[in-house]
Subunit: 184 residues, 2 copies
């Protein structure tokens, strides 16, 4: 359901193709929502059928034709309903395979356990760096669609969330490495 609402939120800024949506998901919402191209097209199809969006065809010569989607009044209602009637418990319904690995890590020798934690740290740092890119692309997106400064505040808050969480994860990894070195 959240993909549907994410699409509605973006189309609320302006009309777009599936391809445009995909790029914005990859560049700006990537930290908290990974999406596959194929699913965007499937979802747009469902949303068209249920009347949340409509589309017009644009014939192009030197490029494949486009389907440009726009949000309907029904879609706008759905977006606002989702935003204001959100059940907070849903967000704490996590699936973190990495922590499952940690839970059972005693099955592996100490050296392998430490290697895994180092890999985790490395990946955390990479992800944290890519958040900076997100901040930049958010800026260009702001120029293309005439989105106001206040929207921008919220986009930056999601980036800030990522920064703080990755910092906490890195702190945890250092602590874990110390514990394993000392107690194991």
């Amino acid at each position: 359901m959240a993909l549907k609402h994410g699409i509605l939120g973006l189309l609320n800024y302006g009309d777009m193709t599936g391809y445009d949506l995909m790029k914005i998901f990859e560049k700006s919402l990537h930290y908290f929502w990974h999406v596959k191209t194929s699913q965007i097209y499937l979802e747009l199809d469902n949303m068209t059928k249920s009347g949340l969006v409509v589309f017009r065809k644009e014939i192009q010569e030197s490029r494949p034709n486009k389907n440009i989607f726009m949000i309907t009044e029904k879609g706008k209602d759905e977006l606002r309903k989702w935003l204001s009637h959100y059940d907070m418990k849903k967000s704490f319904n996590m699936k973190n395979e990495f922590l499952m690995i940690i839970f059972f890590l005693n099955e592996l020798p100490k050296e392998e356990a430490l290697r895994i934690l180092e890999e985790y740290k490395e990946q955390c740092m990479k992800e944290k760096d890519s958040l900076m890119d997100a901040n930049e692309t958010v800026q260009t997106f702001k120029d293309i669609y005439s989105v106001n400064k206040k929207d921008h505040i919220f986009w930056q808050l999601t980036v800030k969330h990522g920064e703080l969480c990755y910092e906490a994860c890195l702190k945890w990894a250092d602590y874990a490495i110390e514990v394993i070195k000392n107690k194991l």
Copy 2:
């Protein structure tokens, strides 16, 4: 796939029923893996078919009969393979609907935005508290199945991860509330 490996990891400590597994998932792995009862039974069925586990029937008088599952050699191989050949990128494949809400929160009036953040804080605190319970149940689990101290170290590390992350989220929420109050 991670549910499969979680089940293998638990059965590696000792033989159990689907019901036992469910309780342990709820009490000890709940922070990072929410599971539905029905899915455990489906998964145990699949795993039996693929030879990762076997089960024996135990007829009871005053209780429903039990299917007691045990891990096979094939299952143990699968568990070790999963632990040592883990692709770290997989863990950063997130879906966080709450952050999607934040991204589009400018659609709502300031007061509603602030209300949502307060609700988030409250839920974070609740989840953080329930981590303490996890720590306790891990202790009783340790007594039932003769799991060694070193396993316990890793279980506690997953709890520590939760603590640090929830602290970061709470810090973020306070920051977000300030930003909204000042800039909006």
